[in-house]
Amino acid sequence: MDFTWIKLTIGAIATIGLYSVLYRENKFYRLIEHIYLGLAAGWSITALWTESLKSTWWDKMVGTPTASGQPGTPGYWAYILLLPIGLMAYFVFSRKNNWVSRIPIGIILGLWAGQQADAWSKKFLPQIAASMKPIIPNDAFIVPAGTGPTPGSLYVSQAVTNIIFLVTLLSVLSYFLFSFELKTRFMKGMTTTGRWLMMIGFGAIFGNTVMTRFTLLIDRMYFIWIEWLITGTFKM
């Protein structure tokens, strides 16, 4: 009985315990759930220190030694000023002085807001530019099978694809024109088309979500049957 097998067995018991709630609520499930929550909280606190705070704050403040134990990087005392700002957030638990907690929140909001113009342009401008697609073909009906598309050419099949894209884009955008009443038959048709196309899109998104959930179950079953039982226990 080696350590790897013990590890796998604990994982298998935890998986079975968590899935037991599918039958009905039970004490075994609650036990595993509480163990998991405790472990996750403990791990996160430890990891926050070892993976993050120590290197990005503490070591920079107190300095770090070299591998031989000699003074290496000098510390910078100003990092101590970050501590009271962080601690201010805990005043949210004080009824009398909870206004203090708004100071760090305000700093974070300010930093966030300052980045948004740049962030917006980097994220959306390329998408807007990519939406401007040509729709008038200048070449053959379909892309030639042997050589692939010629640079600068727009085949009829590509133009049809672009038209479908543009109709989708414009009709979905028209659905969100809430500021005035859409009276013409054309605009009403556009918004209805937009709504239908969005429903098709939501269906595709939901399909992807279902596929992810299935994969998570498959992974757990793979762990139980293959990693724990067949490979781990019976060494097959």
Partner: protein
């Protein structure tokens, strides 16, 4: 009274109200049987897959990044999405290690993520060791930078000055913990554009944080042109919104969910427009592009092992939806009474 109501149910009504425990049991039995069948059937159950342009471009770019360069892997997933994300990271690591590309790994999303990534690296390193291949060594070939709690701030910092962004971080070297900039992995990285590629493996919206803050210059790897060095491997849930970024040219490639893992494994086995592959994977956009595969190596792995079960699970779901609808139709039309 309850028993009486049960007895009076029509077949259509019964079809619509199967106990959920029964449905879960059928699902678990079908998935378990499929997983076990995949294990024992081996190549006989490798289902066909046609990689899309997004996965082909991802693979082609990773296969063209120069040997010895450094790839940043922002690994933002934990075991909750192991089914999809583990296979993605494993396929990426197999390629990078076979091509002698260095990498650094860190997370901007979850404190658990760095350990999960290190476990995955250990798994692939062991796999290579058992096959007699060169062992990928921490410090010389890869480093772990840990977790950064402020994703937005860190991404901004990486963009502004990558040397300052990871300042103070130490990793395990043969001589004990040392400053990461002394490692061969980061030694020559002065700016963001010195990175070979920047790849985000995520189960959440962290790719948005990177797109909003990182800006790469177009680059050339020999004859291969790279317009953007940012790539994404995301879960199926995040796929539909991430695909917009790929379409707009904000990503050099995109791998989505379990299907994406299978696409990667198929490409590793067969290459792109590669005549030596077992089957030809065509890249319609550029027939001149030839990217080799790794025929004969361990390419089909986690993705392929799960793929058959995904199909049987989906078939079961479609069957359940059909059964429910037939039940509704029977109940409404008054048919199936006393069945």
């Amino acid at each position: 009274m309850a028993d009486l109501a049960q007895e009076e149910r029509t077949f259509g009504e019964k079809l619509q109200s199967l106990p959920r425990q029964v449905l879960y049991l059928i699902l678990i039995v079908v998935i378990s049987a499929s997983v076990i069948a995949s294990k024992f059937a081996g190549p006989a159950l490798v289902l066909p897959n046609k990689p899309g342009n997004n996965a082909i471009e991802f693979y082609a770019t990773v296969m063209n990044v120069p040997e010895g360069s450094t790839v940043a892997i922002q690994s933002d997933w934990t075991n909750s999405t192991r089914g999809e994300s583990a296979g993605q990271l494993e396929s990426l690591l197999r390629i990078l290690m076979r091509r002698n590309v260095k990498f650094m790994v860190y997370s901007l999303a979850d404190p658990q993520a760095p350990q999960v990534a290190r476990d995955t690296i250990a798994r692939i390193t062991l796999e290579r060791k058992l096959k007699g291949e060169r062992e990928y060594k921490r410090w010389d070939d890869w480093i772990s930078l840990g977790f950064f709690p402020n994703g937005e701030g860190t991404a901004k910092s990486i963009q502004s000055d990558i040397r300052k962004a990871f300042k103070g971080k130490r990793d395990v070297s043969p001589e004990g913990p040392r400053d990461v900039y002394q490692s061969p992995v980061l030694k020559n990285i002065q700016t963001l554009d010195d990175l070979g590629l920047y790849i985000n493996i995520t189960a959440s919206k962290t790719i948005d944080v990177l797109i909003e803050r990182l800006k790469f210059k177009p680059a050339r790897f020999g004859d291969f042109e790279v317009k953007n060095k940012l790539g994404s491997m995301c879960t199926g849930v995040m796929g539909p919104e991430t695909v917009n970024y790929y379409s707009a040219g904000l990503l050099f490639g995109l791998v989505v969910g379990l299907n994406g893992v299978v696409e990667m494994e198929t490409l590793m086995e067969n290459g792109v427009n590669w005549p030596e592959g077992k089957k030809t994977v065509e890249y319609a956009k550029d027939k001149q592009l030839v990217v080799p595969g790794w025929t004969g190596k361990q390419n089909y792995a986690r993705g392929t092992s799960y793929y058959f079960a995904l199909h049987t699970g989906m078939a079961l779901l479609i069957l359940a939806v059909l059964a429910g609808n037939i039940g509704m139709w029977l109940a409404r039309s008054g048919k199936g009474k006393n069945a």
